[in-house]
Amino acid sequence: MTRFAEKNTAITGIGMSDVSRGANKSALALTVDAALEAIADAGLTRADIDGIATWPGERADGSGFSPVGCAALQDALRLEVGWYGGGGEAPGQYGAVFNAIGAIAAGLCKNVLIFRTMYEATARKTAYANSLLREGQRQAGPFSWYAPYYTYAAALQQALFFNLYVHKSGIRPEQVGQIAVNQRRNAALNPKAIYKTPISIDDYLAAPLIATPLRIYDCDVPIDGAAAIIVSRMDVARDLRNPPIRIEAIGSSMRYRNSWTQLAELDTQAQPKVAEMMWSRTDLKSADVDIAQLYDGFSFHTINWLENFGFCERYGAKDFIDGGHRIALDGELPVNTGGGAMSGGRLHAYGAVHEACTQLWRRAGARQVKGDPQVCATSTSGGPLAGAMLLVRD
């Protein structure tokens, strides 16, 4: 299977800034913290970094969604690179990684610094900074089909998809709640997590509804923070200080209608064909996976990915997560071991990659899963967006 370019790449270093509900430094400063930590972790210096990538690139709109782009970080660190790229039209947040794989295969670079910066906690201290709608401004583009209907947040669109899933699968609220309860339990063992106080299923059920069937504990938590990883060409990775975490396979397809209204299968979202692509590029099977870091912008995403990766049957997630034992740190498939975005903080899929590597390198301390985890399935996004990666430490 050497014809697949991702197999010639590996994650060689990781970094994460402080993660908070209100930072005492700028978004760029947080990004520098994460980047320098990742570079040093890989055993590299700034001079070794010859590529930069991010998703979705700089958005200077005050929302804090992506306040730092490639150019700002390149200049802050005075990097000299052969390739860079940051853009939002990609298979979710992992689009930056997939682009880096292509750039490495094209011979443009060999050590790519990939980062994701969020400053949404600070942004939300100003009124309604993150509303999708702008009063008095007309809306162009695909979102215009939703704009007249009080669609203030992605939560409403995802609630549409989630409600159909609940209708078709018969999953009960106390089963959905196991995702939030499990992640809060894991977050208690993660020093960087935002929310560490345990919650019970009763707490979950008593929490406010956002939009049926979505409750507040089903949602991720906006933060200020940055995460960074180094993706290196395999021959370079072999000489660095950490055991390479190989990118064994990726799923990046758009073989479906990428639309928040017209996507054919709303209840499974865009994930099935993306997962299918990932599995088509590896000899490994879902049974070979030791841990899973599954996107959890909303708990529904995690539930969907469990099925779409094949860890359980279609509409079988309700039984798989019932009681929460299988997905716990000591379960058969530990899921979102650092607390995920819902309790750890919304680092938007890069927190998940950071946690995957932390576990595979067995650095996770009190939350380290038992045994010798070598294979991690990771995924990103919901709705009509999806991306997937299978990571392996030999």
Partner: protein, 134 residues
């Protein structure tokens, strides 16, 4: 209730957002193979015809999925309201985002039969759906 955010009008979506003036819901349709193309674009992805233009449909449909909003995203947002995706009766894969109106939010259900009504706002007629009277 707060004001609705309106769409930017272009050559492709103008009929959709304005034919409500005549009480009509306009959906682009291929003249060659009769496939409904939505969102509107003058190209048929089924037969590759460029002869695709807006046509009035029945305005009937079914609720594919829905959510009842409970969060006050902005001040003065009304009591729970329903966001839904409705499939038009003529072609089930044409889905329209909308609010379900003239109905208790807690009575909306999957596959509920609905019909279009229009709310005039500035120069546009916003399609909304209400339950078909039993």
């Amino acid at each position: 209730m707060v004001a609705r955010t309106l769409p930017v009008i272009d050559r492709d979506n103008e009929a959709y957002w304005t034919w409500g003036r005549e009480g009509k819901l306009a959906i682009h349709r291929c003249a060659a193979c009769e496939y409904f193309v939505h969102p509107p674009v003058p190209f048929c992805p089924r037969c590759e015809s460029r002869d695709v233009a807006p046509q009035a449909v029945s305005g009937r449909g079914r609720v594919v999925t829905f959510t009842v909003n409970h969060k006050a995203w902005v001040p003065d947002l009304a009591d729970p309201y329903v966001l839904a995706l409705v499939a038009i009766a003529e072609q089930d894969d044409v889905r329209i985002a909308c609010n379900i109106v003239e109905c208790d939010a807690n009575k909306v259900d999957f596959n509920m039969e609905v019909e279009v009504v229009f709310e005039p706002v500035e120069d546009l007629w916003i399609p909304l759906f209400r339950p078909v009277a039993a």
